[in-house]
């Protein structure tokens, strides 16, 4: 228990610091965990309690993600979601997979690294757009839909990985069964749910907490992934009053997720030694491959490579979902590589996003100076 308190205190100080410097807090939580934990000073060790709270952090993160999935809205924006999403998926998954496999990871490990390599941090992208006052840019819409597409891919990855070693028909039947229950509840119980959420007492918050945990336990009891089912619960609840659910689930998510990040850091095992070469290559490629996919997206959707630069700047950061994949499926070396990638890309990403406008102006300026033939190629 003292370990959790110490970790929380350190994170509180780091959170204050990161807000003051306006950089993302996630890399600092992980670093704090590494320093305090197994690989560092050994002051904090993970216990049953800490891993339970960390699990809840993950579950609430995924529930929150589910709340953001509005199938009707996604369907209405199909074209925007698909085009940029498919470029992003292909470029980054392929580069991530090839890099991991060539660096000597096994096939399975390479797949986990590829998925973590591909998925940008939604939280950091959105914060960066809001804090750097980029919301009005036309690219910001593309970025936001890109994040939605990545969420959808994550769901598919979760389903595929867990379905691997089960009887597929039974597995699918179980999932469909729970999905049917969830959607029936959200559909027929809509007025009841809304009447609960409208109350001013402790009921809405207890209900939200209980609904998430019950769904997760029920899924585990049936032997289907709780991660998938809490996303489905979120998506089902999103058809009622998602804002109210977000408001009631936010405190749990915010606190438990900090524990989740810091204990991810604590459990990182560096006894096998740090392979700086592997980490350097993965981090470098992680920044570069988003540049390639960003430029392609910018050219295909906005007809401008400079737009692509802006997309790149705001999607470099990998974060919460990459860590989730590392926690769920990563072996120790994979977890260490993903941790390093998240720390490096989120810090680089924060700075590039802040100075993207200068970068853009600088490039336009250079383009102008280098004479008329190139000028024709540059469109804003």
């Amino acid at each position: 228990m003292e370990g959790i308190v110490l970790a929380l205190f350190v994170c509180l100080v780091l959170a204050l610091l990161s807000k003051y410097l306006s950089v993302p807090a996630i890399p600092f939580y992980i670093l704090a965990g590494v320093v305090l934990g197994k690989a560092g000073l050994g002051l904090v060790t993970s216990s049953d309690i800490s891993s339970y709270i960390a699990d809840m952090g993950l579950i609430f993160l995924l529930f929150f993600m589910g709340l953001g999935i509005r199938i009707d809205r996604i369907a209405a924006n199909r074209a925007a979601v698909l085009m940029s999403g498919i470029i992003d998926l292909n470029v980054n998954m392929l580069i991530g997979f090839a890099a991991a496999y060539l660096l000597g990871f096994s096939l399975e490990e390479s797949l986990v690294i590829a998925a973590a390599f591909y998925i940008s941090s939604t939280a950091m992208a959105v914060t960066s757009l809001v804090e750097n006052r980029k919301l009005m840019m036309r690219e910001s819409e593309t970025i936001v839909w890109l994040m939605v597409f990545e969420d959808l891919v994550l769901i598919i990855v979760l389903a595929l990985v867990t379905a691997g070693d089960q009887n597929l028909i039974v597995f699918a039947a179980k999932i469909l069964f729970v999905l049917a229950i969830l959607y029936a509840l959200a559909h027929y119980g809509k007025e009841f749910l809304i009447s609960i959420l409208d109350r001013n007492d402790e009921l809405p918050i207890i209900f939200t907490f209980a609904a998430v945990l019950i769904t997760a336990s029920f899924a585990m009891y049936l032997g289907i992934p709780d991660t998938l089912m809490v996303i489905a619960l979120g998506a089902a609840f999103a058809t009622t009053d998602p804002d109210a659910f977000e408001q009631h689930a936010r405190p749990f998510k915010d606190v438990f997720l900090v524990i989740f990040f810091v204990f991810f850091g604590v459990t990182i095992d560096l006894s096998g030694g740090l392979n700086w070469y592997v980490i350097g290559v993965i981090c470098g490629l992680a920044v570069a491959s988003k540049l390639i996919s960003g430029l392609l997206t910018g050219i295909c959707i906005h007809g401008s490579a400079l737009s692509g630069l802006e997309i790149w700047a705001n999607t470099i950061s990998r974060g919460e979902f990459s860590i989730a994949l590392a926690v769920l499926y990563g072996s120790p070396p994979v977890a260490a590589a993903i941790a390093a990638m998240v720390i490096v890309t989120s810090i680089i990403g924060a700075f590039i996003a802040k100075y993207a406008t200068h970068l853009r102006h600088g490039i336009v300026h250079l383009g102008r100076r280098s004479g008329p033939p190139r000028r024709a190629n540059i469109r804003l």
Binding site: G68, R70, R73, T122, V126, L129, V130, R133, L135, M136, M137, S140, E141, V144, W145, M147, V148, E246, T357, L380
Partner: protein, 161 residues
């Protein structure tokens, strides 16, 4: 003038508005509760932005509806669509030296303008529904209710006279 609204998942709601002259104003209500306002002049590439709290945004809204005459005077117009589109305005004014020491009755506010003083705020204390014998002091903030024309009369006849 075309207004379009759009929901950005995870970010909030966007309202974008293009003026007849081609300038663009965009407002974002973010999930965190703050409001960002962007303006983009026609032909310009980088917008300028301002971040507002909800209170600041409402104040800006009041200014844009044209109701505010001075910075510390503001007004709210309420329209009741069920009552033949009845429009009632509530306006605050600061009492000038010229009417200090006079009562509501002396000034014949109701008879001259049709507007009604419904509250007076003096040094952070509120007097709701002041009686006709209420004596104004310089610096009082008065809250007056009436139709727009009645308030204009109030402003010209009582506040300036």
């Amino acid at each position: 003038m075309a207004l379009r609204s759009l929901n950005l998942p995870g970010v909030g709601t966007k309202y974008e508005f293009e003026t007849d002259k081609g300038d663009i104003v965009a407002i974002f209500f973010t999930k965190s509760g703050s409001i960002q306002m962007y303006t983009l002049q026609k032909g310009c590439r980088t917008p300028s932005a301002a971040e507002l709290t909800p209170v600041e945004a409402r104040r800006l809204g009041n200014i844009l509806t044209g109701a505010i005459i001075e910075a510390d005077q503001e007004s709210v117009e309420v329209a009741f669509s069920a009552l033949a589109d009845l429009r009632i305005t509530i306006h605050t004014y600061l009492v000038p030296e010229s009417i200090a020491g006079k009562t509501i009755e002396d000034l014949r506010i109701r008879a001259k303008t049709g507007a009604t003083v419904i509250a007076v705020c003096r040094k952070d204390r509120n007097n709701i529904n002041p009686p006709p014998s209420f004596v104004f002091e310089a610096g009082d903030a008065v809250l007056v209710i009436g139709e727009t024309d009645q308030l204009k009369l109030f402003e010209h006849e009582i506040m300036v006279a």
